[in-house]
């Protein structure tokens, strides 16, 4: 498929937006620019403020302070214009259980002023594309994965210019997740601007042009996945889980004496992540030095892998995304 050539321009401009619920600062001064045709991920753990930010940008919530514009329309005053431009796939599965998949899609299409006949055709195409068989069956009889895919279709049946996806693949099996990812890539290739809220670093890494990492309602880093991994971590990581937690401290101290080690992080009580630059040569050097350490019991697992966005988050916050 040939990709649509997209002229870059800012379609979403967020200016120091805040949303406080009493003492809880769900979104705390976020400023971002999202370009047309971009797949922009907001990556963060549960409770970081992703969904609140999505609800602000889709005009469901009103900001405590600050503002954002979608194609020049303020989320405070331009709701009626904005909702014609966007599609929203909420984190929760929000479908009518007693309607069929087709009826659910047609209903949403009609809310977007699409005539019944055209809505029916679009429903058929989309349901087939996302592998939802039995479109005449009540949605309550669907598996969790099928319901989630239906949830997604309902967000895009009207072909929005801007699509907000809040954890669109949560709870999907790997095969279904792959179908949804391919579908999202397809939409991006057609020029749709996609704002993806996710806590899945593999999803953010493999799909995004740009990633903003959010924690405690603040954006703590942003850039392309490659930029983030280069800036906030090393190329490679050795992840060791020890049988005994005392061994972790011994090896950790040894790391201070190895020049190729950039930094290390302790996860829980028995897991050590060692970040280093350079490829196999440095890995062998580190490995040799570590196995020479005396009085170490067996290790449970040892992985050598490339740096991920999970490591970026760990380096920035000292916590893992899934913690």
């Amino acid at each position: 498929m040939s990709n649509t050539v997209i002229e870059k321009s800012t379609v979403i401009e967020i200016q120091n937006i805040k949303k406080h619920f009493k003492d809880i600062k769900a979104v705390d001064g976020v400023s971002l620019n999202i370009q047309k045709g971009e797949l922009f991920s907001i990556l963060g753990p549960n409770g970081a403020g992703k969904s609140t930010l999505a609800r602000l940008l889709t005009t469901v919530l009103t900001p405590t302070s600050g503002d954002a514009t979608i194609k020049g329309h303020s989320i405070k005053t331009g709701k009626s214009s904005i909702i014609k431009l966007i599609g929203v796939c909420p984190q929760e599965i929000v479908i009518y259980d007693i309607l069929t998949a087709e009826e659910n899609v047609i209903f949403v299409a009609q809310m977007h002023d699409i005539p019944f006949k055209k809505a029916k055709e679009k429903a058929k195409t989309l349901l087939e594309k996302l592998d939802i068989g039995g479109r005449k069956i009540w949605a309550k009889k669907f598996s969790g994965g099928m319901k989630r895919r239906l949830n997604l279709i309902m967000a895009l049946v009207h072909e929005p210019e801007i699509l907000f996806l809040d954890e669109p693949t949560a709870g999907l099996d790997p095969q279904a997740r792959r179908i949804v990812w391919d579908f999202i890539r397809d939409l991006k290739n057609k020029g749709v601007t996609i704002v993806l809220m996710t806590h899945d670093m593999i999803e953010a890494d493999s799909l995004s042009d740009h990633v903003a990492i959010i924690d405690h309602g603040k954006i703590i880093a942003q850039g392309s996945p490659t930029e983030l991994k280069e800036k906030h971590g090393s190329e490679n990581v050795i992840e060791i889980t020890f049988s005994e937690k005392e061994d972790l401290n011994i090896v950790k101290n040894q790391c201070d004496n190895i020049s190729s080690v950039n930094n290390y992080n302790v996860i829980g009580e028995r897991t050590l992540l060692i970040s280093f630059k350079g490829g196999m040569k440095n890995f062998i050097e580190i490995f040799q030095k570590l196995i020479l350490v005396e009085n170490i019991n067996d290790v449970e697992t040892m992985n050598f892998r490339q740096n991920t966005l999970e490591d970026v988050f760990l380096n920035l916050t000292g916590r893992r995304l899934r913690d």
Binding site: R55, T58, T62, I83, Y96, E103, Q110, M111, D113
Partner: protein, 266 residues
């Protein structure tokens, strides 16, 4: 205001599909009026009063008004369920219009209400032989109870708008529905001017006077006065009572749209 927006019809059809496909709907929404009518008949059917009419004949209009008031509770619960499931929030991100959501729900609930009234009318007037003056009066009685029922549904949706969960909506609607029925005197006489401030009083009084009391519809509707809480005539003709019910219904719908638009912000 664009009253006949197609989207409100789409919403109403969706709601009706959602109802008609649930067995609970048949048991509770359609089974309830059957149970209620027979219950009333067994309690009041054998108690004679005067002119050959039983307590059941006199009490039937009040029973219809009582039963249609249940629309407040069912509308409140149904609407609050949509709210708590996230569907209202989802609809809020589409160019649906909250007015259409409100009016669509009002239409679908009113259709259920119509079915309930038809069931009670058929049982009461056709099967159990409840007394009525003439068919045209009965039709007016039907429309009066439907109009009153719509106001009850409107109130139910207003209650749901300010309730966070279906359980809270259920509680609030019962707190409205039960006292209002007693203080309106629609179920049993209540000698207080408070009755004039309640929609069920006017609905029951108009409906009863047109279908049970007096002779000749035209005379009844235009010349007869409504009977007040002291059992004396008040200077309001029966058609004036119809206007009052219409006024209450209109107020509840307008209030409903306003409150729904304000109170369903997330």
């Amino acid at each position: 205001m664009d009253i006949l927006d197609k989207k409100m019809i789409v919403i109403a059809i969706k709601n009706l599909k959602d109802s008609f496909r649930r067995w609970e709907y048949y048991l509770f929404s359609l089974g309830f009026p059957i149970m209620f009518t027979f219950l009333f008949y067994f309690i009041l059917g054998s108690q004679g009063i005067s002119n050959g009419l039983s307590s059941f004949d006199y009490g039937f209009p009040g029973m219809i008004i009582y039963a249609t008031s249940v629309g407040t509770v069912s509308a409140a619960i149904g609407f609050a369920s949509d709210k708590s499931s996230g569907m209202l929030e989802r609809l809020d991100t589409m160019p649906t219009g909250r007015k259409n959501v409100f009016l669509g729900s009002l239409i679908s609930e009113s259709i259920t209400l119509t079915l309930q009234i038809i069931i009670m009318f058929v049982l009461g007037y056709v099967i159990l032989g409840v007394y009525f003056n003439n068919l045209l009066g009965l039709l007016i009685g039907f429309l009066v109870s439907l109009l009153f029922g719509i106001s009850a549904v409107g109130m139910g949706i207003i209650i749901a708008s300010v309730s966070k969960t279906p359980q809270i909506a259920n509680g609030f609607s019962l707190m409205y529905y039960l006292p209002i029925l007693f203080i309106s005197g629609s179920l049993m006489p209540f000698e207080s001017p408070i009755v004039y401030f309640t929609p069920p009083y006017w609905a029951k009084q108009v409906y009863m006077q047109i279908t049970v009391m007096g002779h000749g519809l035209e005379e009844q509707l235009y010349s007869s006065s409504l009977i007040g809480y002291t059992a004396e005539a008040i200077p309001i003709p029966i058609w004036g009572g119809v206007l009052i019910i219409f006024g209450f219904t209109l107020i509840f719908i307008i209030l409903g749209i306003i409150i729904f638009q304000k109170k369903t912000k997330f």
